[in-house]
Each structure stands twice: as C-alpha cells, then as structure tokens.
C-alpha cells in the first residue's frame, strides 16, 4: 500500500519519525473496519446477482463450503504452513543478507561503486522472470521457492539500510570513538541499533512483496503452498475454491502486516513519537 513511497531509499525514513507510521498507528479499529465497506458491498451484490452454478462468478456463500472441504482433507493447513514457511525463511534471509550488504555498500563508497550496477541490474529483473532460471538451477522444491522470494524481497531492505548508514550522524560515531569504544563495540552498540529502524522499514516494505512472490512462485511451479492450491483449483474448474483461497491469501497478508506492526511498536517504543507518553 505505502510501498511505493517507502521503497524510495532517498526518502526512506525512520519508522518513528514517519507520518505514515504515525497515522497507521492512530487508526483505531473502527475506521479500519469501515475501510472494508466497499469489499462488503461488492460481495453482497455478488451474492444477490450470482448463480451457484456459474463457472466464473460463484457467489460468496459457496466459497465457505469449498474452504471447509479443503480444511477437512488437510490440504488447506498444509498449504498455508508451506506458504508461511517459504515466506518466513525468504524474508528472514533477505533481511540478514540485505542488511549486511546495505551496511557494506553504505559504509564504503568503493564497494558501492563496485556493486551498484549489478544491484541495479538484478533489481530490474522481474521475479517472475527468475522463476524459470531458478527451477533450472535448483529444481522444483522449497530451496527454489525461498531463493526467488529472497531475491525479490532483498532490495527494499538493502536500499533502506544503505540510506540508513548514510544518515548516521558523524557526531555519533565521533562520540563513540572519543569514549574509547573499539570497532566491534562501535558496531554492536552504536551502528547496529542506529540502523535498526531503517532495516525494519525495509522489512515493512519487503513483506508484502515477499507474500506476493511466494504465491506467484507457487502458482507458476505448483510446488506446495496456497498458490499451488489456487492453480490446481483453477485447472480443475473449481472457481469457488479459487475465490476462497484468494481470500485466504489476503488474510495471510493482513496477518503478516499486523504482526510486523506489533513488533514495530514494541521494539521501537523508545523512539520519539512511538511511546505513549505515560511510563
């Protein structure tokens, strides 16, 4: 949703200072539910107009029974777990590798010059285009899924970290040196904590991308997951299942966003504007 602006590394900012972060935080549950109104209206109209036998637009009431069928034979739970596993490992790897690379590239102009063209090239490659290469090299398995997701999610994290490194005030580093902190201590006690908000902002931007790419890879390769189940339902002409699974995918995305939001407000409560003012 806000990915477009936040992905721009030059405008990337700390979650604590960001207006968007604040406004999402202040949104209480009532307006958020009100935001679902168009969807509810659409589904109601669909329910009234659609016919249960339609091959394209089965009404929402049929989705539930389709979903219950999937749940009862265990396929749904297995698919959701597979998708979440790929998502978590992929995003986790992207976070670690992206943050380290961002730190290196942001901290050394030489490394930046040497690596930036490669990054730009790799970043411009659509993840869907990487799928055939990844299946060729790695086969149809979990490793392949994770690799594609990692490569798709890494850029937001890398670029945000790089921008974060450049924003660290020289005075902060000078103060640490003046207080006789060694290199390791400076990284551990000053640089890493100073970068955490930038890295986390990158993760917030990368997470929806990672969800989408996980589903995409599963749809394209039929390797186990919600995406594979969608593709399979579509091939076997079960439209109610397809719609039901799309809802599940949407719910997963909301869940991921909610969890990250909670982590953010917990971890960064020390930042100005994050805390509630009463301690």
């Amino acid at each position: 949703m806000t990915a477009a602006t936040a992905a721009d590394p030059d405008r990337a900012h700390q979650p604590g200072g960001s207006d968007q972060a604040k406004s999402t935080k202040r949104t209480t549950s009532a307006p958020r539910l009100r935001g679902l109104l168009p969807l509810v209206v659409l589904l109601s109209v669909w329910e009234l107009v659609g016919s249960p036998g339609s091959p394209f637009f089965p009404p929402p009431s049929t989705w539930g029974s389709a979903l219950i069928g999937l749940w009862e034979n265990g396929a749904l739970l297995a698919a959701v777990l597979a998708t979440l596993t790929t998502f978590c490992i992929g995003l986790g790897t992207a976070t670690v590798v992206g943050a380290v690379l961002g730190l290196v590239v942001g901290g050394s102009p030489g490394a930046d010059r040497a690596m930036s063209p490669t990054f730009e090239f790799a970043r411009a490659m659509p993840p869907a285009a990487m799928v055939p290469i990844a299946t060729l090299l790695l086969g149809y398995d979990e490793t392949m899924k994770v690799t594609v997701v990692t490569l798709a999610a890494i850029w937001a994290i890398l670029l945000n970290t790089r921008a974060g490194v450049r924003r660290i005030d020289q005075t902060l580093l000078d103060a640490a040196r003046s207080l006789q902190l060694g290199t390791v201590e400076r990284i551990r006690k000053v640089i890493v904590p100073a970068l955490l908000p930038a890295v986390f902002l990158g993760v917030r931007v990368a997470a929806p991308i990672a969800v989408v790419i996980t589903l995409l890879v599963e749809i394209l390769t039929h390797v186990e997951g919600v995406g594979a189940l969608i593709a399979q339902s579509q091939r076997t002409f079960q439209p109610a299942r397809v719609y039901a699974l799309i809802l599940v995918a949407g719910a997963l995305s909301l869940l991921v966003n909610g969890v990250l939001g909670m982590v953010e407000s917990h971890v960064f409560r020390y930042l100005p504007g994050k805390a509630d003012g009463s301690e």
Binding site: D169, L172, D174, A175, S178, L179, Q180, V190
Partner: protein, 278 residues
C-alpha cells in the same frame, strides 16, 4: 631526612599546579587543515602554532565558521590535519582519540544515543572497563554533578536541549578524563544554569587537575574560566591573539567579573574578535 622527602614533596606539587615548567599536553606546530567543500578543498586553518600546558584551561574564540570545532576535532584525534602538520599529545603524535581525552560536542542531540536512557548514555564509555558497582557509582556521581539524577531513567529526547547537553557533559565526566575538549557546552543554557555549571566545571577542574580546552562565543565566560584565551582570526584562520588571564583562582562570578584586570582583558578580547571581522 629532608633529602628523602624531596621526591614525595615534588610529586605532590606536580599534582597541584602551578609549576615552573609544566609539560605540554598538546603541542601543535605548523598545523593546517583542508576540508572538502563544494569548490574543491577549502583551507580552514593555516600554519597554526600553539600549545596547551598540562593542567591549563584554554579557551578558543573566533567568529562562526573560523574553525573552532575543526581545531577541537583535531586535538581529539577525530580528524587528521594536512600532511606536514604536527599535533602531539604529550610526546605522541595524535592518531585517533588519545586515551583520557574526551570530547563534548557542540551538536549534543546528535551525540547521544536515542535508544539508551540517560544513565545508559552516561555509562557508554565505562561498560566493560570498570566493575558494575563502580559503573553505577560513577554514573550516579556524574549525573548528580549536572543535577540530572532525577532524569536517569528517561530517554534523552524527553529532555530539553540544555538537559541533553548536561547529559553529554556527565558522560564525559564519568570517564574521569585527564583532558576535556568542550565545544560550546553551555551555549544552549539559560544564564542561571550556565553560571551554575561554569562554577561546577571550575570545581571539577580544580579538583581533578584536568586540562581543559573550551570553545565558546561568550567573552565573559571565556575570561572567567580560562588561564588563556586564543582568538582565531582571518580566513584561513590563524591564532590572531593569545590573551593570558591572570585573575586569581578560585574565581567568583561577581568579584572576578568586576575586577579591574577582568574588565581590561574583556576590552582586549572584544577588540581582537572585532578585528577578525573586517
């Protein structure tokens, strides 16, 4: 008997001051600095020569942009001068921050770690170097010196600008430094707090025998605190004037500042700064 006592007596007096020939804490010879600017390298200071004696309190004055902060960063080992310059801390060439030399930065907000509470900020330089108990004791002592004991558990951004600057000062004092490099430490304070902290600083200075290099825009402050005031003039700047302040210590906010000697020096320093302006 007397002969035996001699070395002991000498040591005791070395810890006091003044001695006939104190050592130089800092010695700068032919010091030039060039920094990158939009139009290539800009020369900030050229061929500066000065020394700071052990236990001396030296202030550096000069208009904004004359290179006071730059000079302090060089003494603190945070910036390298152009090749050919000599900067010594005792007998060693300065190459990185020397142990025991602590800088208090002009930009206090950027020098504190926003994710650490006040007391954890103050403890930063002590962690892993002294025992837990000693750390807690020194942090509490330093915070008491700057009257911030009550705010120990707060995050720095909840504090006013002047309070944040005092946290930075406490962080330096907790290190028990032998040299303090202070960059406009009282610039953000109201007159009352400023006088209190000036006296607190003089107290610490007289107690510990530390060497202090102090940057300020306030002529009265410079004269009140210092043994010597250096005035940067010109562009690139050099030391245009070095004014010795002979007012006796301990000093007194009212008496010292109204003494004849003080008023004469005040005029002299003002004139030197004005000279730099045209």
């Amino acid at each position: 008997m007397k002969a035996n006592e001699q070395p002991v007596a000498e040591q005791a007096s070395a810890e006091d001051r003044p001695q006939p020939q104190p050592r130089n804490t800092f010695e700068c010879r032919n010091l030039s600095v060039e920094l990158r600017s939009s139009g290539g390298l800009a020369c900030i200071c050229r061929s500066i020569d000065f020394e700071v004696r052990e236990g001396e309190f030296v202030s550096i004055m000069g208009r904004s942009g004359s290179g006071k902060t730059t000079l302090l960063r060089i003494l603190g080992g945070l910036l390298s001068p152009t090749p050919g310059s000599t900067v010594r801390y005792y007998s060693e060439q300065v190459d990185g921050p020397p142990r025991g030399v602590i800088t208090v930065f002009q930009n206090y907000a950027a020098s504190l770690l926003p994710w650490r509470t006040v007391e954890k900020n103050v403890a930063l330089g002590l962690e892993g170097k002294v025992s837990k108990d000693e750390k807690a004791e020194r942090v509490a002592e330093a915070l008491a010196m700057v009257s911030l004991s009550k705010r120990a558990k707060d995050y720095p951004w909840r504090l006013s600008g002047g309070m944040q600057q005092r946290v930075q000062l406490a962080r330096a004092l907790a290190m028990r430094p032998s040299v303090l490099l202070l960059d406009e430490p009282f610039g953000a304070l109201d007159a009352m707090t400023k006088t209190t902290l000036q006296d607190e600083l003089l107290h610490v200075y007289e107690q510990t025998g530390a060497t202090v290099v102090f940057v300020t825009h306030d002529v009265d402050e410079a004269l009140y605190l210092s043994d010597r005031v250096l005035i940067l003039q010109g562009d690139p700047s050099t030391i245009g004037e070095s004014v010795a302040v002979q007012c006796s210590r301990p000093r007194d906010q009212i008496e010292t500042k109204q003494s004849e000697g003080f008023l004469t020096l005040r005029r002299k320093v003002y004139e030197a700064i004005m000279q730099g302006h045209d």
